[in-house]
């Protein structure tokens, strides 16, 4: 069982994330915990000592009720492994602390798919993604697909991509494809010769086979981030190493209709 923490807020992104997690559980057996962080404004914070604790208890109860409402509305089959965890404070700091102290193997959160790459880059470069001790799965959409894809490019370390993703998905019932991405502005998405993927593509394929999974399909795609992002909708999950800058791979992931799991 993969110890997993799912972040819940009362919004569309969380609603989709909850139901996606339920779907994921059919392929990867999850030991699921849910969490919510109440982030009060500075003006809301009151007093010290007993007064402060009483106020925090109130805020925590409110967060608990929010989680209850969402769980009741979505009515998922995947059982929770423990009581919901509600924290008060800075959302990212609290989650990273919980991920570390709880030795979680996967963190899941929803992200409302928009055409705004900057917003996605903010998420990718936030402490939540850069400091999390485990892979971060950003849920963008629901799916009925049974396929995952490992997305690689010139700047991707094949060892990290395969090793870290297999730590989560190695025992799953998903099938795997590999896509090597190259940026090219053209009217249509192009499939290039496999040799264009070079040693990176070969290494990812070999390492995946070593981990017990032969890739069903290996493709070198050339196109714009929008074209490739649209192509990725066929997949339940896109696995990528965490981009550290606004590279084209980051834009592909921002445009991906499928959910994205970052490993590092």
């Amino acid at each position: 069982m993969l110890k997993t923490l799912l972040y819940i807020n009362e919004d569309l992104a969380s609603s989709i994330a909850l139901r996606y997690t339920d779907y994921l559980n059919k392929f990867v057996k999850l030991s699921l915990f849910v969490t919510h962080v109440e982030e009060p404004d500075d003006k809301d914070k009151v007093g010290t000592g007993w007064v402060r604790r009483t106020w925090e208890d109130g805020v925590t109860s409110s967060g608990g009720r929010l989680i209850d409402r969402m769980l009741r509305t979505e009515n998922i089959d995947c059982h929770l492994a423990g009581r919901p965890k509600v924290f008060v404070g800075d959302r990212e700091r609290e989650i990273v602390y919980e991920l570390r102290s709880g030795s979680y193997k996967l963190f899941i959160q929803g992200y409302l798919n928009t055409s705004d790459s900057d917003g996605f880059f903010e998420l990718v470069s936030s402490p939540l993604c850069t400091d999390a001790p485990c892979p971060v799965l950003v849920v963008k959409n629901l799916t009925i697909s049974k396929k995952c894809v490992l997305l690689c490019g010139d700047s991707v370390d094949p060892g990290i991509l395969v090793e870290k993703s297999m730590a989560v998905l190695g025992d799953s019932a998903f099938s795997f494809d590999i896509i090597f991405y190259k940026f090219r502005e053209h009217e249509n998405l192009q499939v290039l010769d496999r040799a264009e993927g070079g040693s990176t593509l070969n290494d990812v394929e070999t390492l995946l086979a070593d981990a017990g999974h032969n890739a069903d399909k290996t493709t070198v795609l050339a196109g714009t981030p929008e074209q490739v992002g649209d192509y990725l909708k066929e997949y339940a999950l896109v696995v990528s190493t965490l981009p550290t800058r606004k590279c084209m791979r980051m834009h592909v992931l921002a445009n991906s209709l499928a959910s994205v799991m970052f490993v590092r």
């Binding site: 807020n9 009362e10 919004d11 569309l12 609603s15 989709i16 139901r19 409302l112 798919n113 928009t114 055409s115 705004d116 917003g119 963008k140 959409n141 629901l142 799916t143 009925i144 697909s145 909708k233 209709l257």
Partner: protein
């Protein structure tokens, strides 16, 4: 469901019959085939009457004879109706009524859509000369703007790989949900549900988001792959124009819809000109 199919004698009208038949078969719809002639008189124009009769046969031929819900013609020919025009009905489990009206196309189509309480108006249009229908310009456009129900303008009956449905309000009718579902099924396409918002940030779920969740649930339960995307109001025109090249765009244009203001007649005209397949206006 009742589908009003506006037809003339041009090729683009004949080309939509297969899609009409598939839609009717999947929904077991009552059908009204409507032809418009310019001048009134005692009798309907023979050419138009013959064309409608042939269209009826064509649509029936797409059904398995054992499953055909439409019966034989009632009576020897068209008979005049009080409200104007002529009618030829069929018996059978479902109605397939042929109607001919006299007057301007848009006005007559809108009047029959209202009178027959149609849930959907389907029509083709000329794709070489902008938005022409039966020799008149902008007919599909005026129908799309003023019809009391949803409107499907089939410009080219090619298979689309995606239906992009765009909404900015929380009111969505059950019929329109089902129409989108049928298009997805007919085209074996994926469905992209795109919400349009003025303000993207916001910690609480608003009416649009709630509606989008319900839509995703509705389609997932029918095993339709539905992807959600949220875009800003300022990006909607460009987004719609780009999407319409390869996908069927479905615009939810309710009374309270901001999209209604954004998509002026000129915009919808451009959209119809731009689209590579069909445009669906949902109400």
């Amino acid at each position: 469901m009742k589908i009003l199919v506006a037809l003339d004698t041009q090729e683009y009208s004949r080309n939509i019959l297969k899609e009409v038949a598939r839609l009717a078969r999947n929904t077991l719809a009552d059908l009204v085939f409507l032809g418009i002639q310019e001048q009134g008189g005692k009798e309907p124009e023979a050419r138009l009457a013959e064309t409608l009769l042939r269209y009826r046969q064509d649509v029936c031929s797409y059904f398995d004879p054992d499953e055909l819900p439409y019966g034989e013609l009632v009576g020897p020919g068209f008979s005049a109706v009080k409200s104007g025009g002529w009618i030829l009905a069929t018996n059978g489990m479902k109605e397939l009524t042929l109607r001919i009206a006299a007057g301007t196309s848009a006005r007559q189509i809108l009047a029959v859509a209202a009178e027959s309480e149609a849930d959907l108006v389907v029509m083709g249009c000329n794709c070489t000369l902008g938005c022409e229908w039966d020799g008149e310009m902008n007919v599909p456009l005026r129908i799309a703007k003023d019809a009391p129900c949803s409107v499907l303008v089939i410009k080219q009956p090619t298979r689309a790989d995606k239906i992009v449905s765009i909404l900015d309000q929380s009111v969505v009718s059950q019929d329109s949900l089902e129409i989108v579902n049928q298009l997805v099924t007919l085209h074996e396409a994926g469905l992209k549900i795109v919400g349009v918002k003025e303000k993207m940030a916001g910690s609480r779920m608003d009416g649009l988001e709630r509606r989008m969740i319900e839509l995703v649930r509705y389609y997932n339960e029918r095993e339709v792959d539905a992807w959600v995307k949220m875009i800003h109001t300022r990006d909607v025109k460009e987004f719609v124009m780009n999407s319409s090249k390869t996908s069927i765009v479905a615009l939810w244009l309710g009374k309270q819809s901001l999209l209604r203001k954004l998509f002026s007649l000129n915009m919808v005209d451009k959209l119809l000109e731009n689209t590579g397949s069909s445009l669906l206006i949902l109400r």
